[in-house]
């Protein structure tokens, strides 16, 4: 999983019908200290995250194991809202 910060929302009217009523957010990966790095990506939100929050993003086929995402065409899902990251290095 990666840590990411929610940067914005996505509105899509025409989409795969299995994505109807899914909330899509734009997130940007961050390092453990919170510094942004790398490219933005779109992730489906399963935990009611909001813009500005640091979240846990699961990628690949594992994203379909998030709550309510079974058999949906997604490859990134927000599965947690980060309270704290403690790194000793």
């Amino acid at each position: 999983m990666i840590l990411a910060k929610v940067a914005g929302t996505v509105v899509a009217t025409r989409k795969d019908e299995r994505l109807v009523s899914s909330k899509l957010l734009v997130v940007r990966p961050v390092d453990p200290s919170g510094k942004a790095e790398g490219n933005y990506l779109v992730a489906v939100d399963t935990v009611d995250a909001g813009v500005g929050e640091t979240v846990l993003v699961v990628s690949g086929s594992s994203a379909r194991m998030a709550s309510g995402m079974k058999d949906t065409p997604v490859d990134a899902a927000i599965v947690g809202i980060i309270d704290a990251v403690e790194v000793n290095e």
Binding site: M1, I2, L3, P29, D31, P32, E37, G38, T46, V47, D48, L56, V58, S59, G60, S61, S62, A63, R64, M65, A66, S67, M69, A77, V79, G80, I81, I82, D83, A84, V85, E86, V87, N88, E89
Partner: protein, 90 residues
């Protein structure tokens, strides 16, 4: 699988129900000479690893297999703690 060092932990209160009770650690992949290689990532712990230990972890859906029949939404999982690790110098 890749070798990494556990460098920290993550506290997440609001999360997918299936993640409840799982320990999430920050791991830094290592090169053969134990230098950091690439970005750190968050991995679920299946073996009781702790901060500072060298571990190996698996990427992809396989990370959820230690928790079978549960299928937590995880894409990286620690599956072993390294006791010793030698690489021949070339």
């Amino acid at each position: 699988m890749q070798i990494a060092r556990v460098i920290g932990d993550v506290v997440v209160t609001r999360k997918d129900e299936q993640l409840t009770g799982l320990k999430l650690l920050v791991v830094q992949p290592l090169t053969p000479d134990r230098q950091p290689s690439g970005r750190p990532l968050v991995a679920v712990d299946a073996v009781g690893a702790g901060v500072g230990e060298e571990v190996f972890f698996v990427r992809g859906k396989e990370a959820s297999f230690p928790f079978f029949p549960a299928e937590p939404p995880v894409d990286a999982g620690i599956v072993g703690i390294v006791d010793r690790w030698d690489v021949e110098k070339r």
